[in-house]
Assembly symmetry: C3
Homo-oligomer: 487 residues x 3
């Protein structure tokens, strides 16, 4: 232990990564605020309140099974898995940042969902009769969705920020999300069941902009840790697969009851299947002797789910879904091969997980596909009632027609982009303040800075410890040698 601490002190000469007061302070203040705000504002809605028995009678609902809970709960739990295990494990690929990946993902998601319930509640679930936010299962799903945007952004800055920075990033991220979501879904009345625009485009550009502002010219100093080991790649596949498998639930979770949810699941299932094949094809085509690259398999296989988000609820048709997935697998894999190095070298955007390839580009594609599909909708394909139902051409929007809807969809995409980029630059500047305890360039991608890492190998004589690959260079003395630098 002694040595390790000595080593930490060395780092701290350059940067103070001691978060002993800052992290607890932020957590406590924010959690207490949540309690107060929830106390003032949040109540159960009529389907989760004990008055449901009266409500049921009043609305002439014949069975408890028609409580919205039973329409959405299975999807909710799948989405919940995507947020915590999916995003969390997807980022464990780094050889010694698995604690940070899964642990900080856990932290910011747990905070974000509370703040999201409030922010989204004010915009969408406020009961004007008593000024309270009334929550039910759909609010929980939306809170998970909202947090997904921030977790996407985390992917861009993975390993380069402190947990305090992540909490700040999440606070602003959720706030911006709720506003852009309100503008896109309510003001513009665009549809976005799976959140290609609202979640993925916004989240990705938010993260990329932050990463751009926080550019580290000397990040190469921790290059030896910016890669995977065999088992960390297997851990990351847990994340990939749970995201991939449950994406149909993600895109259908808040779709219309009945055919809406049903169709969204089918479209997503197909788009994702298609993406896997083109990802494998491109990965093999561009690597020497046709070998596959785990980075592509872990990430690009998911692009189809992102891109089919907006149109999942529409009559995209099964082959339309396959086509979307087909191109996204290609584009996303090409992004990893050609675009990521370009972004880093030329545009100074360091994107640890490659969220530009997994969320940004497919998200934009998803917005465009949604706009086109909406504009092309006809009464023949949808049926009169089906068209009205699917696009909610009711109330103040009862005069809207598909072509106009297409335009509003496109406008929604622009809003997401603006909020992502603008918000990201602003938050990036906030995070640049030297008060958040972020790691020095040579300590990026290293759990040692923020976590007690098991030290069972410490007493091993140094000469043998060079080979200690799972938890390498724990020892300050070792750092002095340059074995690690060579790797």
């Amino acid at each position: 232990m002694g040595n390790c601490m000595g080593f930490s002190d060395v780092c701290n000469r350059q940067k103070n990564t001691n978060i002993r007061w800052r992290l607890p302070a932020v957590c406590f203040v924010w959690q207490l605020s949540m309690i107060v705000l929830f106390g003032v504002f949040v109540r159960y809605n009529e389907e989760s309140d004990t008055h449901w028995v009266d409500y049921r009678k009043e609305k002439n609902i014949t069975s408890d099974i028609e409580n919205d809970f039973y329409f959405r709960y299975p999807s909710f739990q799948d989405v919940h898995v995507m947020i915590f295990v999916g995003f969390g494990f997807l980022m464990t690929f780094l050889k010694r940042y698995s604690f940070g990946a899964v642990g900080f993902n856990f932290l910011i998601a747990a905070f974000g969902i509370q703040w999201a319930l409030l922010m989204q509640g004010w915009f969408h679930s406020l009961d004007y009769t008593d000024g309270k936010i009334k929550i039910g299962i759909e609010n929980l799903i939306n809170a998970d969705f909202c947090v997904a945007g921030c977790l996407i952004a985390y992917g861009a800055v993975l390993g380069k920020v402190s947990p305090v920075q992540l909490l700040v990033m999440t606070l602003f991220g959720v706030t911006l999300f709720a506003v852009e979501e309100y503008i896109i879904l309510n003001v513009l009345h665009a549809k976005d069941a799976g959140g290609s625009m609202v979640i993925h485009t916004f989240g990705a550009y938010y993260g990329l902009s932050i990463s751009w502002v926080l550019y580290r010219p000397d990040l190469d100093k921790s290059k030896h840790l910016n890669g995977s080991v065999y088992h960390s790649d297997v851990f990351a596949m847990i994340g990939t697969l749970f995201l991939w498998m449950f994406w149909p639930s993600f895109n259908s979770a808040i779709a219309d009851h009945g055919d809406g949810q049903h169709r969204a699941a089918i479209n997503t299932y197909l788009a994702l299947a298609s993406t896997v094949l083109t990802t494998v094809a491109m990965s093999s085509l561009f690597e020497k002797t046709g070998k596959l690259d785990m980075v592509h398999i872990q990430n690009s296989t998911l692009a189809g789910g992102v891109a089919v988000g907006t149109a999942a609820e529409f009559m995209l048709s099964p082959y339309g879904s396959l086509i979307v997935g087909f191109f996204c697998g290609i584009i996303s894999t090409m992004g990893y091969i050609y675009l990521s190095p370009f972004l880093e070298e030329k545009l100074k955007i360091q994107d640890t997980c490659g969220i530009h390839n997994l969320h940004a580009m497919p998200g934009v594609i998803g917005g465009i596909v949604g706009a086109i599909t909406a504009a092309a909708a006809t009464n023949t394909v949808y049926g009169d009632l089906g068209l009205e139902n699917t696009f909610d051409f009711t109330g103040p929007f009862n005069k809207r027609v598909p072509t106009i809807q297409g335009g509003y969809q496109a406008a929604g995409l622009c809003v997401a982009l603006c909020f992502g980029i603008g918000g990201g630059i602003f938050v990036g500047l906030v995070l640049k303040l030297p008060i958040w305890g972020d790691p020095a360039d040579e300590n990026c991608f290293d759990d040692e800075i923020y976590w007690e890492v098991p030290e069972d190998e410490e007493s091993v004589p140094p000469v043998l410890a060079y080979n200690n690959h799972v938890i390498p260079n724990k020892n300050a003395d070792m750092r002095e040698t340059n074995f690690v630098e060579q790797s």
Copy 2:
């Protein structure tokens, strides 16, 4: 192989851990008993029987979707994941007891659910017309719940007992559980949807009492194995997250149809989110330079789910749930830092997984919260019908009022405590008999004793193998050296 076996022989001079006859004998005898007892007693209930078509007509049920299966099956599968993956992987954190953690968890859960179906069936699902237990989906959930109590207890003795002991412990545990559950839920008519009292308080004190009776003064001899390595901590996070994510399903699985399940899920979701933040805060506050400790993140983040168990179904209100989670994160983390060492040194309770902090204290808190919330229930908040529905003030209990109910809730907590402590001491004494093949003090926390561990590194020259940290000291010769002892 030769060396390893030689090493095993050395251990066996002290203690006979050969379970060749005992484990198969116990498994066969018990499984055969299960078959006979199921043959005599267990049948499908009217919703899982082919006579459902007639029953449906008779009861005027309009659709198959009103079969209880569709109300509870999604929650059931989530609970099932918690039992087998959640508990199993949570305990894989030890560097070389992952096989035992996940494997024995699997064994005792698979046995326990069968015995639980019988025990709980006799108390709750006996059809007096034909003397048969009639089972359906709710029985499966309750069996999983019952086994959860025993798996919690396993956490206290992890690495220190043989599989035969675990099976004995489960046999008695399930039996005691069924009796205390009957007293609490039926005789006292207390409510405990998520089992804060029935499952967590009972299970934790049952395990702690057993561990107290089985106290090993020389456990330090295997201290070098009582810790984690990097990847074993990541494995444990799989368990943590699946428990955390699916806890809303756990607490809502057997709640009332409709608003009951809906509200239980919301309350649990919120309590758990709150717990994460205070756990992180406390962990950072009490570790040097604010680093986070994986032990806290893996365990204390779950305390809110335990503590909100009893009151999950009540009108605890969203901010009430946050408050419960808030304090549980603090108390549980403090428990790991201050109370666990105290329990071990002063009270002679060796608690491998810290179940006192994760289940015992939060369970008691949950019982108290439940009692207070029940006592404070009013017709204004619940509505007349809602109050009656939520607390089942019907039949012989139609005269009961909330304040009285609060008293019975508190009585229920005492019953759980008594059964846990009393039962644990008794079973601990049974397990002390020298016939169960438990490991010697120097072989605790070591899969080598009960598992064929892959031996691919054996031919590596000894001088290099010191560094073999994943599967260390396989080799008897190595044990002679004291490299390991230093770590």
Copy 3:
């Protein structure tokens, strides 16, 4: 990197494993074909189409909750997890074939489900009015089921074939599956809810036959890689547990609404629980000093789920399920201990994962149990309406009686066997063509051939790297030494 490539070149002198053009070409051609065929043939069915609103009115359906989506979606997602995480991670047990296990499983499943939607659609979901296949949630489940057959087959050839071969194997496998399924379920009108015959018997004999044709007499050359390391065994338990936990969903996913699904879940739950105990018993009984073998725990514990597949929907009764599980645990474990070596030595069938013990024998047992249970069905046990409902004695089959049904069930089993063996031999011969880029005997079970494996240890001096057990012998020079051969 240089050395490794040099090493690869060495291998390639013997066999060309360069799949740079072949894999992408196959992926692109097949995915494009899928798009065209889906464009021509596949449409949404009436429950996933926007016309559902009209359909609902027309059919007098009172609520959206009666859309088939809500009956089957939770089970679907569980099955999806079994296919991608269950099968994928179950096969990660090999020390350095985890990428291939989980990655190729992903690839062939993603391709297979598309082809299955078409093949099964033509047989089962063709709308003769417009010549289109109309798909809904049940089709997605069936596609997953169909692919399960091919993934079982993959288990037999794991580590010994190229991804191109796997894709060919899947193309033929799905085609054969769809035909045998049609014959068994529609022509013979046999029942097979959990696919003991249709999925497991067919899939296993298909894979075993292929493996027999592709017999490698010199497979011993890569014997040092045909085994596990500690953490790869833990990864495999993720697969085991998700298969085990979600098997009730597998067997009930396409069972009849209401009591059918309910009963299938109960039967499977019980059979699996029973299997765990007898597997542990047998494993302990036949290993020295009663130690448990991870191979048995990972695989044989699942045999009960396979064997209860056909009869899951029947009135097998709870104790009947326990009995089936009881014997399957014994038989499957004995298979691993005695039969697998026999198959390899005498019958020249190299079965990497032991699918003969996990799928073939239990599948056949399942078929027989199904035939007997069907033949023994009586009006007393099932009720008049229940009997008709369970066995679909309607339409052209309204004259069939249980005894006759038993005969047809047995005939179904024979069809599955014939298709599996015959199809496997044929496809094996196709795969023997020297154009598919399969690995040389000394490169089997090695991810290095088809994957970019992380190379972070390369610069470690050779003398230390002997101990590098997670990613051993990356280095051509090291191979020259015989340290690895000793292990």
